[in-house]
Amino acid sequence: MTVISEIVIALFLLTGAFLSLVAAFGVIRLPDVYTRNHAASKSATLGVMCILLATFLYFLVKDGLFSSRLLLGIAFFFITAPVAGHLISRAAYNSGVKMWDQSVRDDLKDKK
Protein backbone atom coordinates (compact mmCIF):
# COMPACT_ATOMS: atom_id res chain seq x y z
CA MET A 1 0.00 0.00 0.00
CA THR A 2 1.28 3.43 -0.88
CA VAL A 3 1.37 6.25 1.62
CA ILE A 4 -1.24 8.39 -0.08
CA SER A 5 -3.83 5.61 -0.18
CA GLU A 6 -3.20 4.95 3.51
CA ILE A 7 -3.80 8.62 4.25
CA VAL A 8 -7.05 8.66 2.27
CA ILE A 9 -8.30 5.49 3.99
CA ALA A 10 -7.36 6.83 7.43
CA LEU A 11 -9.16 10.09 6.69
CA PHE A 12 -12.36 8.28 5.71
CA LEU A 13 -12.11 6.00 8.76
CA LEU A 14 -11.63 8.83 11.24
CA THR A 15 -14.43 10.86 9.64
CA GLY A 16 -16.81 7.92 9.90
CA ALA A 17 -15.93 7.10 13.49
CA PHE A 18 -16.20 10.77 14.49
CA LEU A 19 -19.63 11.07 12.88
CA SER A 20 -20.83 7.94 14.70
CA LEU A 21 -19.59 9.44 17.97
CA VAL A 22 -21.41 12.71 17.19
CA ALA A 23 -24.59 10.74 16.53
CA ALA A 24 -24.27 9.00 19.90
CA PHE A 25 -23.72 12.33 21.69
CA GLY A 26 -26.78 13.76 19.93
CA VAL A 27 -28.85 10.77 21.03
CA ILE A 28 -27.70 11.32 24.62
CA ARG A 29 -28.04 15.08 24.84
CA LEU A 30 -30.98 16.22 22.70
CA PRO A 31 -34.28 16.85 24.48
CA ASP A 32 -37.03 14.82 22.75
CA VAL A 33 -37.47 11.81 20.50
CA TYR A 34 -37.75 13.77 17.24
CA THR A 35 -34.48 15.65 17.67
CA ARG A 36 -32.77 12.44 18.79
CA ASN A 37 -34.06 10.68 15.71
CA HIS A 38 -32.80 13.57 13.58
CA ALA A 39 -29.29 13.16 15.03
CA ALA A 40 -29.25 9.37 14.85
CA SER A 41 -30.61 8.87 11.35
CA LYS A 42 -28.55 11.55 9.56
CA SER A 43 -25.19 11.46 11.27
CA ALA A 44 -24.95 7.71 11.78
CA THR A 45 -25.85 7.12 8.12
CA LEU A 46 -23.08 9.35 6.82
CA GLY A 47 -20.66 7.81 9.34
CA VAL A 48 -21.35 4.23 8.27
CA MET A 49 -21.13 5.21 4.60
CA CYS A 50 -17.70 6.77 5.18
CA ILE A 51 -16.46 3.66 7.00
CA LEU A 52 -17.79 1.30 4.33
CA LEU A 53 -16.11 3.44 1.64
CA ALA A 54 -12.85 3.20 3.58
CA THR A 55 -13.23 -0.59 3.75
CA PHE A 56 -13.91 -0.75 0.03
CA LEU A 57 -10.78 1.33 -0.75
CA TYR A 58 -8.70 -0.74 1.67
CA PHE A 59 -9.49 -4.06 0.02
CA LEU A 60 -9.26 -2.50 -3.46
CA VAL A 61 -5.79 -1.08 -2.83
CA LYS A 62 -4.36 -3.90 -0.76
CA ASP A 63 -5.68 -7.06 -2.39
CA GLY A 64 -7.04 -5.76 -5.68
CA LEU A 65 -10.44 -7.05 -4.54
CA PHE A 66 -13.39 -5.17 -6.03
CA SER A 67 -16.03 -5.96 -3.43
CA SER A 68 -19.43 -5.23 -4.94
CA ARG A 69 -21.05 -6.27 -1.64
CA LEU A 70 -19.65 -3.17 0.01
CA LEU A 71 -20.93 -0.91 -2.76
CA LEU A 72 -24.31 -2.58 -2.43
CA GLY A 73 -24.15 -2.03 1.34
CA ILE A 74 -23.42 1.68 0.87
CA ALA A 75 -26.35 2.07 -1.51
CA PHE A 76 -28.62 0.07 0.81
CA PHE A 77 -27.78 2.21 3.85
CA PHE A 78 -28.21 5.39 1.85
CA ILE A 79 -31.71 4.27 0.86
CA THR A 80 -33.03 2.58 3.99
CA ALA A 81 -31.70 4.52 6.98
CA PRO A 82 -33.71 7.73 6.31
CA VAL A 83 -36.80 5.62 5.61
CA ALA A 84 -36.41 3.86 8.96
CA GLY A 85 -35.95 7.20 10.72
CA HIS A 86 -39.10 8.57 9.09
CA LEU A 87 -41.12 5.50 10.09
CA ILE A 88 -40.04 5.68 13.75
CA SER A 89 -40.72 9.41 13.90
CA ARG A 90 -44.18 9.01 12.40
CA ALA A 91 -45.00 6.13 14.74
CA ALA A 92 -43.88 8.24 17.70
CA TYR A 93 -46.09 11.16 16.61
CA ASN A 94 -49.11 8.97 15.98
CA SER A 95 -48.73 7.16 19.29
CA GLY A 96 -48.80 10.47 21.12
CA VAL A 97 -45.23 11.15 22.21
CA LYS A 98 -44.96 14.78 23.32
CA MET A 99 -42.59 17.21 21.65
CA TRP A 100 -40.11 19.25 23.64
CA ASP A 101 -41.93 21.90 25.69
CA GLN A 102 -39.96 24.71 24.03
CA SER A 103 -40.91 23.66 20.49
CA VAL A 104 -42.76 26.45 18.73
CA ARG A 105 -44.35 24.82 15.74
CA ASP A 106 -46.42 21.69 15.08
CA ASP A 107 -47.76 21.56 11.54
CA LEU A 108 -49.50 18.23 11.99
CA LYS A 109 -51.63 19.25 14.99
CA ASP A 110 -54.80 20.25 13.13
CA LYS A 111 -54.47 17.68 10.35
CA LYS A 112 -56.22 14.96 12.32
Binding site: M1, E6, I9, A10, L13, L14, G16, A17, F18, S20, L21, A23, A24, F25, V27, I28, V33, R36, N37, A40, S41, A44, T45, G47, V48, I51, L52, A54, T55, Y58, F59, D63, L65, S67, R69, L70, L72, G73, F76, F77, T80, A81, V83, A84, G85, L87, I88, S89, R90, A91, A92, N94, S95, V97
Partner: protein
Protein backbone atom coordinates in the same frame (compact mmCIF):
# COMPACT_ATOMS: atom_id res chain seq x y z
CA UNK B 1 0.11 3.39 10.80
CA UNK B 2 -3.16 2.08 9.42
CA UNK B 3 -3.43 -0.40 12.29
CA UNK B 4 -3.29 2.39 14.89
CA UNK B 5 -5.95 4.32 12.98
CA UNK B 6 -8.14 1.20 12.92
CA UNK B 7 -7.79 0.70 16.66
CA UNK B 8 -8.60 4.36 17.34
CA UNK B 9 -11.74 4.24 15.21
CA UNK B 10 -12.81 0.98 16.86
CA UNK B 11 -12.41 2.71 20.24
CA UNK B 12 -14.53 5.68 19.08
CA UNK B 13 -17.24 3.33 17.81
CA UNK B 14 -17.23 1.47 21.13
CA UNK B 15 -17.68 4.75 23.04
CA UNK B 16 -20.58 5.62 20.71
CA UNK B 17 -22.10 2.20 21.42
CA UNK B 18 -21.91 2.82 25.18
CA UNK B 19 -23.72 6.14 24.74
CA UNK B 20 -26.47 4.44 22.74
CA UNK B 21 -26.81 1.74 25.41
CA UNK B 22 -27.30 4.52 27.98
CA UNK B 23 -30.17 5.92 25.91
CA UNK B 24 -31.56 2.40 25.40
CA UNK B 25 -31.75 1.84 29.16
CA UNK B 26 -32.87 5.31 30.23
CA UNK B 27 -35.05 6.40 27.28
CA UNK B 28 -38.39 7.65 28.64
CA UNK B 29 -40.59 6.36 25.80
CA UNK B 30 -40.59 3.31 23.56
CA UNK B 31 -39.70 5.19 20.31
CA UNK B 32 -36.56 6.49 22.06
CA UNK B 33 -35.45 2.94 22.61
CA UNK B 34 -36.24 1.97 19.01
CA UNK B 35 -34.16 4.93 17.75
CA UNK B 36 -31.28 3.81 19.98
CA UNK B 37 -31.55 0.21 18.74
CA UNK B 38 -31.58 1.32 15.10
CA UNK B 39 -28.45 3.45 15.62
CA UNK B 40 -26.85 0.50 17.43
CA UNK B 41 -27.43 -1.68 14.37
CA UNK B 42 -25.77 0.91 12.15
CA UNK B 43 -22.86 1.17 14.60
CA UNK B 44 -22.51 -2.60 14.64
CA UNK B 45 -22.10 -2.57 10.85
CA UNK B 46 -19.29 -0.02 11.19
CA UNK B 47 -17.61 -2.13 13.85
CA UNK B 48 -17.81 -5.22 11.63
CA UNK B 49 -16.21 -3.31 8.75
CA UNK B 50 -13.37 -2.02 10.94
CA UNK B 51 -12.85 -5.48 12.43
CA UNK B 52 -12.65 -7.09 9.00
CA UNK B 53 -9.92 -4.60 8.09
CA UNK B 54 -8.14 -5.23 11.39
CA UNK B 55 -8.21 -9.01 10.95
CA UNK B 56 -7.31 -8.57 7.26
CA UNK B 57 -9.99 -10.84 5.87
CA UNK B 58 -12.73 -10.19 3.35
CA UNK B 59 -14.97 -12.97 4.63
CA UNK B 60 -16.90 -10.69 6.96
CA UNK B 61 -18.26 -8.47 4.22
CA UNK B 62 -21.43 -10.54 3.83
CA UNK B 63 -22.27 -9.94 7.47
CA UNK B 64 -22.35 -6.17 6.86
CA UNK B 65 -25.15 -6.48 4.33
CA UNK B 66 -26.97 -9.02 6.49
CA UNK B 67 -26.93 -6.84 9.63
CA UNK B 68 -28.12 -3.86 7.59
CA UNK B 69 -31.10 -5.74 6.18
CA UNK B 70 -32.04 -7.26 9.55
CA UNK B 71 -31.84 -3.89 11.34
CA UNK B 72 -34.05 -2.26 8.72
CA UNK B 73 -36.67 -5.02 8.88
CA UNK B 74 -36.70 -4.90 12.69
CA UNK B 75 -37.10 -1.13 12.75
CA UNK B 76 -39.97 -1.22 10.25
CA UNK B 77 -41.71 -3.97 12.23
CA UNK B 78 -41.35 -2.01 15.48
CA UNK B 79 -42.64 1.19 13.86
CA UNK B 80 -45.68 -0.59 12.48
CA UNK B 81 -46.36 -2.26 15.80
CA UNK B 82 -46.20 1.09 17.62
CA UNK B 83 -48.51 2.73 15.13
CA UNK B 84 -51.16 0.11 14.46
CA UNK B 85 -50.83 -2.38 17.30
CA UNK B 86 -50.04 -5.34 15.07
CA UNK B 87 -47.31 -6.11 12.59
CA UNK B 88 -49.15 -8.16 9.96
CA UNK B 89 -52.78 -7.22 9.48
CA UNK B 90 -55.48 -8.92 7.45
CA UNK B 91 -57.33 -7.05 4.72
CA UNK B 92 -60.61 -8.70 5.64
CA UNK B 93 -60.81 -6.92 9.00
CA UNK B 94 -61.06 -3.43 7.56
Amino acid sequence: MIETILQISLLLLAIAMIGLIYRLIKGPTVPDRVVALDAMGVNLVSMTAVLSMLLDTSNYLDIILLIGILAFIGTVAFAKFLEKGEVIEYDRDQ
